[in-house]
Amino acid sequence: MELDQALQTFIVESRELLEAMEESLLGLESSPDDHDAINAIFRAAHTIKGSGGLFGLDGIVAFTHVVENVLDRVRSGEVPINGDLIALLLSCRDYIGMLVDQIAADSAAQPDKETEATGIMLLNQLRTYQAGEKKQSPISATAQSQPRMAVVPPPDGTVESDHWHISLRFGHDVLRNGMDPLAFIRYLDNMGKIIHVVTLPDAMPLAPDMDPESCYLGFEIDFHGDGVDKTTIEGVFEFVRDDCTLRILPPHSRIEEYTRLINELPEDKIHLGELLVNSGSLTRKELDEALHLQQILRAEYSQEAAPKLGDILVEQRVVQPELVDAALGKQKLAKENKAQESKLIRIQADKLDQLINLVGEMVIAGAATSLLAQRTCDPALHEATSTLSRLVEEIRDSALQLRMVQIGETFNRFNRVVRDVSKDLGKDIGLSICGAETELDKSVVEKIGDPLMHLVRNSMDHGIEKAEVRRQRGKPAKGTVHLNAYHESGSIVVEVGDDGGGLNREKIFAKALEKGLITASQNLSDVEVYGLIFEAWFSTAEQVTNLSGRGVGMDVVRRNIEALRGTVEIDSREGIGTTVKIRLPLTLAIIDGFLMGVGSASYVVPLDMVMECIELDEAERRESRESNYINLRGTVLPFIRLRDHFRERSKVSRRENIVVVQYAGQKAGLVVDELMGEFQTVIKPLGKLFGNLKGISGSTILGSGEVALILDVPALIQRAASRDAQLLACSQAEQIVA
């Protein structure tokens, strides 16, 4: 594994862990006794620290270590969890996130002054929770050592030294697996004091046989640490567990243990014994005793028929029985985790994109094949190509499904935002989430975060009133921001709502008049008036806060959403609340389209928008020359004559059809010459050159190899409406002049 790649994995994993940590922390706010959540937070911090240590990211390790200590105390119930602590831990989480981001940007980067200052501030705050530890330590130490005393063997036969003895033999592949043996020892030093280290080069082969990429070293370490237990020490080596042989002897172990150790280790026994004496683990006398015991033990072992390792260890009192249980539990958990992991595969996004592209090409090639098959009159070939197209369609759907993610993850991030912003604003605001399981394309999800963030902040700052105003209006003091997502005719709708004061129509109208965006005579619907707040530099806020009010954000929101081929509209009722509806296409790659012809050109509309198709008969055609609407079973259906709209100059065809499309609850007709039926449409962007073109959202390639344009129905309707208004205004002006 390349180290860089491993570092990337670390960054990705850390971010995920931090996210999980945040979620659990926020969960703790409502249910502080949730032990699972506390454990999850602790585990996240622990893993980040551990993996950080592997990469020598000392900044992260040092900071996370302190956090972990505090968390450990929370876990053991020594420090009660409360709002302040959660807030502090959230800031700590952010700080770790910041450090991770810095490493992501530049793995060798040192934190700058500002970051460092934040870190120190947080550490100081954390210290207050640790300071308690010192005061309490005499009590807790006895309390903790009590159970340990119970298993520590009686003084007879134990060694005098009070160190842990760790003997460590690294496997040959440790370096190749991207682990640095030294990093572990250095990390161990963080938890206590390494009293003595002896490096054992015994396994080192002769120079010609040596592989410089293999690790041949072993270490004998004497370690002194207050309050560490065996699990903690084992935890240090968790990441190389598979790659090393680890033996840990607790303080005051029996001499037999040392004997066993000496026996089990591959190195020369006398040499080892000397080592142990030198390092202070054993006294000379103890060593002699141990070597004497060796004979008896050897006889014993030969009789023993491979007993279970756990039993031996307990019997020998190397490990405490509860530790064995804990380890077993851990193993089980690890297995479960593995089972879950195997259900998910992490794939690089560009690989997926490539697959989608290829599927797109296949769809086009498939369409070309079907076209050719239709020209020949070979039924067998027809059959074959139709099977093929069905399969292609299924492959397309499954491939696109791969890119679909639930919007819930994006929504959940707002728990934190709402919490923080409501604290900043001094308002009591809650968040309710609906439709978190609604799926949409990953590329859309990525880009929708910023606009949503802006809208949520806006709702909280401008929408929801202060508590006293709310009480006066007879609403609950606690405001609510609502996030909702659902599917509607081929698009996904994301709503950001609040139960605040709503928009003031008069105020917006007046402001727009003042800015010259509209004229006083214009008769605008509510939705149109509310839509004005998306204009650049439009703000009715009397004061600019650090959150919003400058009149830039909503303009950016609209642009971002339009860049995703989406639309945004506002529904608001004064005194009751405001809801912003964002409508986005489900996918940006391949859609089911409906193909139609105007003159020699072909156009595609998303099939989900098509309601029905009707033929325009001769009478209606004559009638519709004058006005642009027809009577559709008793309702008025306005339509757009694409031929006129696009100024198609070819001969008017003999027959015309109306395609009835629906978007955002609005129906409209598109008059076309020819209906060409369903078509799997691979969306090809038209590029920057056509970026300003309204009414056409992209292009696609037909089976014949020709390019067809994809219509942007909402923009078309809007354009037609504004053109009508313009024409009307012009003719009125002319009448006045005349």
Binding site: K684, G687, L689, K694, G695, I696
Partner: protein
């Protein structure tokens, strides 16, 4: 869609930007122009063009170039002249344009492509400030071929995506203002 000529874009032999001297010459409305071949990806037959409505007249439409959709510009209209008539010898020259950080392919309609010529640097004169009947910033230099001047086009200006998109916006905002043909 037969590729008549495929000019290898990464022709190392041509050397760097400064020393480059190979140019493709072509005819447009009877006048000869040249483009440095480093910018040229390929030359294809004219055909299968899809008109994009509501765009200015110099954007003829889009074509399918092996799966990607490429806009096609009528150079004559871009220079403010009459649109080229389509003949048997009309070609689309695919040119790679750098726009910001991205690269974009643009097709250019020309009447006939002539040949690839070596124009030594010494034979390239500065553009005249006026008199060439096209915008001065479109001209990279005047190359001398057999004693006659050929306009070497500054493709990044002639086919500036930003400028053309802006003109497109003006065009689609006031559709009536478009010159009827």
């Amino acid at each position: 869609m037969g590729a008549i000529v495929r000019a290898e874009q990464h022709a190392e032999a041509v050397g760097n930007e400064e020393g480059q001297s190979q140019h493709l010459t072509f005819l447009l409305g009877g006048e000869m122009f040249a483009i440095p071949i480093l910018n040229i990806k390929e030359i294809i037959e004219y055909g299968h063009l899809t008109t994009v409505p509501m765009m200015p007249a110099f954007i003829r439409g889009v074509i399918n170039l092996r799966g990607s959709v490429v806009p096609v510009v009528d150079l004559a209209v871009r220079f403010g002249r009459k649109a080229s008539d389509i003949t048997r010898r009309t070609c689309i020259v695919i040119i790679e344009i750098e726009s910001g950080d991205e690269k974009q392919d643009v097709g250019v309609v020309v009447d006939t492509v002539n040949e690839v010529l070596e124009i030594p640097r010494a034979e390239i004169e500065q553009a005249p400030s006026f008199g060439a009947r096209i915008r001065a910033d479109f001209i990279r230099g005047m190359g001398k071929i057999n004693g006659k001047f050929v306009i070497i086009l500054a493709v990044n200006h002639v086919l500036s995506i930003d400028e053309m998109a802006m003109l497109g916006q003006a065009g689609s905002a006031e559709p009536e203002a478009l010159a009827p043909v």
